[in-house]
Amino acid sequence: MAFANDVRFPVDRREILGRLQAILPRHLVLAEEEELRPYECDGLTAYRALPLIVVLPETETQVGAILKACHELKVPLVPRGAATGLSGGAMPHEDGVVLSLARFKKILKIDPLSRTAVVQPGVRNLAVSEAAAPYGLYYAPDPSSQIACTIGGNVAENSGGVHCLKYGLTVHNVLKVRGFTINGEAVEFGAEALDAAGLDLLAIINGSEGLLAVITEVTVKLTPKPELAQVVLAYFDDVQKAGNAVADVIAAGIIPGGLEMMDKPATHAVEPYVKAGYDLDAEAVLLCESDGTPVEVAEEIERMKAVLEKSGATSLVVSQNEAERLRFWAGRKAAFPAVGRITPDYLCMDGTIPRKRLAEMLEAIADLSVKYGLRCANVFHAGDGNLHPLIMYDANQPGELERATAFGSEILELSVKLGGTITGEHGVGVEKVDLMAAQFTPAEISAFHRLKAAFDEKGLLNPGKGIPTLARCREYTQTRGAAAVTPPPRF
């Protein structure tokens, strides 16, 4: 659907275009509809908006100047990495400029001694690990989109991945972030050292969804590659049993290197692409990884197998070599787009719930699937209770998107009810901005607005995303009924 942002700006297109063309060479400023359309959305194609202008700067000086121009002329600006985001975070603003960081793709430094890398924001997540590989190091947070998504986008979304259960999210693996605020001033968050003096603003920029600053350089922590990693595939004849097995593994005191789940529709979609040899008769498969020294791994794999067997796994397969391990994971990593083989469109949900409620949630999703008449494939970062139900729909059929959205909202509201959150790692973006009211009180939302204003008084950076206007909150609670969802106490 074309998305009409409720925060509008009276912008003089010619004026801002002139300013931007003075900063950048012609081919780095796109301003014709023909060239702008392909920028109208990110990985969430259901929400689209045509920007006024797209700019592709190459230097920090250019970024500073672009921001200054937008700030002066009160033009909204949306930063963009690889646009793999799944919450519409990089969706343009129709009165504004899209600033792509795709040309910032230099790895500036790899320091094997301090185990850090300094990279530009447009560097792909996987490229960091590839560059660090000769030193026996890698960058631990590995979103499934790691082949394409950028470090800047990862910081902005505080992205997670398979390895985050054990090694932390982006925020735990970033030491320093450099960038520019909307008025064109350079800012730095964090320091090379593990802890810096003063307020920890680094945690604020991680997950800031392009609302606080444009990131232009990131210093990340690198992690030594384990001597050995092996993954157990545990098949189940029932998804809920698989859900319970996740809780059992963690309850047994095991912290796997990764603990993921796919249900039958998901394995059926990926198998033709990865040819990993998944058992296609099973209702669900858990991928449970152990890493460490060969002795540790051997011992842990045995413990994992024992727990999984006890939880009702019908069969267990352990990867026998690195190629096989990677193949088993490749299926999980390609799962979302592979679902494109069985449906023209999908909405990928991102709720997080306490692990012990997984089975309950799976049952509810199955019921909702019947209620809305839409298929749903389930792919989870099971270990941290982060759900990715993929609701399948056909955008060419009138009404299906609306049904899919309503289906998704019910899942997320239930996540909150079960003591979880509406987003685990994909961010709020434009997609879940209304649902923020399901999770936060008006007082909390006002606090978010104040933080935003401290960085961006005019509200120009990525407006309309992440934090709902208070008017939107009111509307949400009036139509959906705040009582329907009582946020559990947090902290």
Binding site: E34, P38, A82, A148, A338, G340, D345, A395
Partner: protein, 411 residues
Amino acid sequence: MQTNLADFIKDTPDGREADAILRTCVHCGFCTATCPTYQLLGDELDGPRGRIYLIKQMLEGKPVTEKTQLHLDRCLTCRSCETTCPSGVKYHRLLDIGRKVLNERVPRPLAQRLVRTALKEALPRPWIFRPAVAAGQLVRPLLPQVLSDKVPTSAPGQSRGWPEKSNHPRRMLVLAGCVQPGLAPNTNAATARLLDRIGITLFEAPEAGCCGALRFHLDAQEQALDDMRRNIDAWWPHVEQGVEAIVMTASGCGAHVKEYGLLLKDDPAYAAKAERIAALTLDISEVLAAEAEKLKPLLVTRQHPPLKLAFHSPCTLQHGQKIKGVVEELLQAAGVELTPVPDPHLCCGSAGTYSILQPALSKQLRDNKLAALNSGAPAAIVTANIGCQTHLQAGSAKPVRHWVEIIEERL
């Protein structure tokens, strides 16, 4: 993705195929990561996902200009994006349809038309092209850089000729191709000698010519279909007499001939034959892999000095025909040490006539590719497609050869 194709195309075979392809794309962006032009230019419009969007707009009836043309022209048709795409998007088919429609809507300026006409008339005709290479060698110093790079510096790789007489019951056809006989005559000769040793007679059908790929990618899809029909006519009597396979020694031709069935599916006179021809078509690596049991003992009969080579797998081999690791295994069986090559999925920039039509990007890709190939200090470079071979050779002091020549020399 949501689609809403315009009336002019909606109910045509092309329209239906394009719609189906567009609808498989879920806009995840994975493909941008392995697209050579997106990696160089960082503009959505120069990556597969953006090009898909540009084509979608055009097919939905939005106005198109030379801007769309520029970004589609920059596409190498390397199909790396297809290898990466988990959703199975058949990008190159969408691009073919997109380019055809675009060509009707956005006429090219005269200068561009002339270059394209010259290429599509000369290259597919050995009788123009071969003398042209000879003439080119004489006037090499006078040619503009892009063209002079394409003309081999010395007489092309000395050919030891075809086997004197080869008369085995097992017979296979081989495509002579259009540019290969002029630039690298030893490739097919070596293939013939090699197959002769394992009991297969290889022969060419003189009436066959260019596989059609050149014209197909030069705004001349109809003419290309004629090339294809002519080849089918040339091969058909031999097919009826039971040739075992139609062998391709240039992976660019192989990728195209393997699509004859698809490309001619709407021609009732040729559809069935085209299907059969496509099914009989094999890359030489596939033939040798199938004969490995006969070949391998021959490869270990003589002692050879150690040889370190870098293999460049052409896009038409790894992405187009999805043949991976096969050539490498054969070379290793022949005692060759293969040096590691970073980013092996990336195109070398040759891409048919791309090196002539997009010289700047092409050169950048070639420089990167040569750096990657040379990073392991090989004695020479081997590849599997004449286009890549001459393109890389033009920038390399080390010899660039067809891998099959190496195998044959080691028998």
